[in-house]
């Protein structure tokens, strides 16, 4: 029982324990470590944007329209004469600001739905699953486009639409876990103790079924970043001159043909890096959290 307290806080190489743990995780999943590093970078940029940005992201320099990258404007300026570097950095705030609430919304809707349908089964389950299947038939981007166009073009609507559209993913992951757990002895034991259904769902099943869904969060955040950028690129939802990467790429695409490549390229790179980072973290998380991988 005293094992934990007797453990040395430093290992043989003199590494502090926290660092040793990070090294341990990195050894088991280098993918997760790289993904985490990329995301930490973006998070730093988002949080400290005002300190890092050389200019106000929506301040236009009328005399500097479409200036190529130089020592003053490191990544050049766009069609409005706004600094691309500052805008790319500020864009990280939009990426996180859309992805995080959207994923939280997906979880809040999807997880209880998955718990309920998986545990109750029968016809509740059947109907829900068929609705999800029907939703899956449409490419989600078209649905998102239609809904955002119909409900009004605001940031909040974009978040709501992405969150709702992605909730079936979480519902399915949780449902399949619950299906496996439903007949396990501890659930039977909970019934035998007299637990009401609500308590079985949220006290007994949820903590045991949530891991798969948690492993999905990073990948779904990547999807949210991608889809919000796509919406903005298509001119739905967020509009220029908001410093959002998708909107920036949309504006920059026009200048691609005339040779001003920097306007679209740099937000594009940022977008790719962030999606890549989230996906790498997601893959790594799935490896680390997947209970079936633990031997």
């Amino acid at each position: 029982m005293t094992e934990a307290s007797l453990r040395p806080t430093r290992d043989a190489a003199g590494m502090p324990r926290a660092l040793a743990r990070i090294v341990g995780i990195a050894r088991r999943s280098p993918t997760a470590a790289i993904g985490m590093a990329i995301l930490t970078g973006f998070a730093g940029l988002a949080v400290f944007a005002p300190l890092v940005m050389p200019y106000d992201p929506i301040a236009a320099f009328p005399r500097e329209i479409l200036t190529a990258p130089n020592s003053e404007f490191w990544l050049g300026t766009d069609g409005n004469g706004m600094d691309v570097f500052s805008r790319v950095i500020y864009g990280a705030r939009y990426a996180f600001g859309i992805a995080i609430p959207a994923v939280i919304l997906s979880i809040v809707i999807g997880v209880p739905l998955g718990l309920w349908t998986g545990y109750v089964g029968g016809y509740v389950d059947e109907v829900t699953m068929r609705v999800f299947d029907a939703l899956r038939v449409f490419p989600s981007i078209i649905l998102a486009l239609a809904v955002v166009a119909a409900t009004g073009q605001s940031l909040v609507n974009v978040v709501l639409v992405i969150g709702v559209l992605d909730s079936p993913i979480f519902a399915r992951v949780v449902r399949s876990e619950v299906l496996a757990l439903r007949s396990s002895t501890f659930v039977e034991s909970a019934i035998a103790a007299g637990n009401p259904t609500r308590r079985i769902l949220f006290v007994h099943l949820l903590p045991n079924a949530i891991q798969g869904a948690m492993a999905q969060t990073a990948v779904r955040a990547a999807w949210a970043v991608r889809i919000s950028a796509t919406l903005a690129f298509l001119g739905v939802g967020i509009q220029a001159p908001t410093p959002e990467w998708g909107a920036m790429i949309r504006q920059g695409a026009e200048f691609m043909v005339t040779g001003q490549w920097w306007v679209a390229l740099f937000p594009g790179i940022a977008l790719i890096l962030m999606v890549l980072g989230l996906n790498m973290l997601g893959d790594g998380l799935q490896d680390l959290l997947n209970p079936r991988r633990k031997a």
Binding site: E3, R7, D11, R17, A20, R21, V23, G24, I25, R27
Partner: protein
């Protein structure tokens, strides 16, 4: 000379934990025994005592992070631990056969059982398919499978647990091994079926003059189907000897506790139960590993206990072996 000679076998699990620290579990700590032809050795002990691991260490079936770090395993004059994997592979299923606990998961679900028997036979013998087929049918008949010719075409999922175990035994014995290792061969089978399988195993061992190791946690199986027994605790044999003498006069406190704990000997309400948590293989105590649970533990137990000869062939690894009060009448 003994067919199988094992000396000071040492197996470790070496892994890294979340904090990236190396952790070593001392899973097998100096197991040694010898086994002659026609002899059945019962290997008993509780979960985690290292019974199956001993067998796996002997015949090269360990998977990382488990690793044999020391010891000697001599089978029929050959050193198994230094043998290359190919040669060892040729030995397994041929001269050394294994019967495991879960018969249904040990059979290839996509191959008819007859073809599996033929495959095993032809892997080690240069015979035609027709000859192998004949041999397979003979073996199925020998293990008491009714209508063997027809059953050759059966799929594994069509077999009951008892039938599947018979098929596995036929498969283990088809190449007339010199050594049979049966790892919990009847655990999970019903008692009425267990009797059939154990009778069959014993008959086959006698008839083919093999040596056999039966790994089990069931003292009843040992008492009635084995010639000698070895009791394992924390990866070491703490007592071994002829079944009759060990049951009549167990000399190690652990053996005594084990035998007194059987429902038949148990006197409920006597308060004489010596249970306790399994030993922590990552932090085994110095000296006797049973010390923490032993009612007779004394200061001397802090030093490694010797193997004391109690009587004809009975050996106990305890400082007090032979000087303890009888555990029961």
């Amino acid at each position: 000379m003994a067919l199988l000679q094992v000396d000071d076998l040492q197996t470790r699990f070496i892994s890294r934990d979340l904090d990236n620290q190396v952790r070593v579990a001392k899973a097998i700590n100096g197991v040694g025994f010898s086994l002659g032809r026609g002899e059945v050795l019962g290997l008993v002990g509780e979960t985690g005592a290292g019974k199956s691991l001993t067998a796996q260490s002997m015949i090269g079936l360990l998977r990382p992070p488990a690793k044999v770090v020391d010891g000697l395993v001599e089978f029929d004059g050959r050193d198994l631990l230094s043998m290359d994997p190919g040669a060892l592979n040729a030995l397994r299923g041929n001269e050394i056969a294994l019967v495991v606990q879960n018969p249904l998961t040990s059979l290839d679900p996509l191959t008819r059982i007859g073809d599996q028997l033929i495959r095993v036979h032809r892997a080690h013998r240069k015979v035609s398919v027709a000859q192998a087929r004949e041999r397979a049918i003979d073996m199925m008949a020998a293990v008491g499978i009714p209508a063997p010719e027809r059953r050759m075409r059966a799929w594994p999922h069509e077999l009951s647990g008892g039938m599947a175990q018979r098929v596995l035994i036929a498969m283990a014995l088809i190449n007339e091994p010199k050594l049979l290792i049966a790892d919990e061969p009847t655990t999970g089978l019903d008692v009425t079926v267990q009797a059939q399988i154990l009778d069959l195993l014993r008959d086959m061992v006698r008839r083919m003059d093999m040596a056999a190791i039966v790994i089990t946690h069931d003292l009843g199986v040992v008492a009635h189907y084995c010639d000698r027994m070895a009791v394992m605790f924390a990866g070491a044999i703490v007592e071994s000897g002829p079944v009759d003498s060990v049951f009549a006069g167990p000399a190690h406190p652990y053996t005594q506790a084990l035998i007194s704990a059987t429902p038949e000997r148990l006197a409920l309400g006597s308060g004489a139960i010596v249970g306790g948590p399994p030993p922590d293989l990552y932090a085994l105590p110095e000296g006797c590993h049973y010390r923490g649970r032993c009612p007779h533990a004394a200061e001397v137990c802090g030093s490694a206990p010797p193997d004391r000869e109690i009587g004809a062939g009975q050996v106990a690894r305890c400082h007090f072996a032979g000087n303890l009060p009888a555990a029961f009448q």
